[in-house]
Symmetry: C2
Subunit: 159 residues, 2 copies
């Protein structure tokens, strides 16, 4: 799992991906890799500055873009619901980011727009059920090479 990531490993990881290792990048990557919810740039920035980390919002954006370009993170579909939630937070808007590599399944709350990982075992069952044959057929018919899947279950709390 990517959860436990201490300094030396991180600096190696960055080096392997051609990224300089700075305090800010370590902080952003660490914060991203540690959660299984999928924060927006703004949420990450608040989270980090609340913990005493000083860094500018622009740097969070730049860092996230660097991480995505180098393959250490991915940008997910953004838009949650349009309206601010009861606490006044506009929690749904803005792109969300994810440091988990490889295909996995997300679940989005239809009410709050929050995005989470489906626990690995369950998500894997889902992915395993997809026949490669169908994917190949789609690739062939449309003349494309499928790079990865993005699967989202939109769900409400059970009644």
């Amino acid at each position: 799992m990517t959860g436990k990531m201490d300094q030396p490993e991180l600096s190696e990881l960055f080096a392997r991906h051609g990224l300089r290792c700075t305090r800010q990048r370590k902080a952003v990557y660490h914060a991203l890799a540690r959660t299984c919810d999928h924060p927006t740039a703004g949420q990450l920035h608040r989270q980090l500055t609340d913990r005493g980390q000083s860094m500018s919002l622009a740097t969070v954006y730049n860092t996230l873009e660097a991480l995505c370009k180098s393959g250490l993170a991915q940008r997910l579909s953004g838009n949650g619901p349009l309206t601010p939630d009861s606490t006044g937070n506009t929690s749904g808007s803005g792109s969300r980011y994810d440091a988990t590599l490889g295909d996995h399944v997300h679940i989005r709350c239809a009410c709050t727009g929050k995005l989470h990982d489906v626990p690995h075992g369950l998500g894997q069952k889902f992915l395993d059920a997809i026949p490669k044959r169908v994917l190949e057929e789609i690739e062939h018919d449309l003349g494309v090479k499928v790079d990865h899947l993005q699967i989202e279950l939109v769900a409400k709390p059970a009644q």
Copy 2:
């Protein structure tokens, strides 16, 4: 198919969904239902005004929200790539909208961020392959009710 939608049908459809039938709403819905790519609000607005339809961008947004709330359209995950394409268009940014009801599969170009429907037959094969059992297991374990799936194949043109 929803493609062929003329006036009287549209006014009935709106009425059934509790929406007033105005020139602008007909235009927006018609434009949305007619394509299988998934335009942003801005793209729709440009498309409509280019065809001589006069309407404000705010109305396009308001109309799309009304359509979504009444169940005639859905908002899709927005974010394509961050950078404007070669023609200077920032084609990827902004929410995309879809007038097709029910689950279906999208394909997104990893380069341009453009979103399209996977042709119905192929998409259906994909969806049919998902075992209900796994979905029920997820619902049970997480205590949720899955409303719908959002599946996106991120792909590049075949080499």
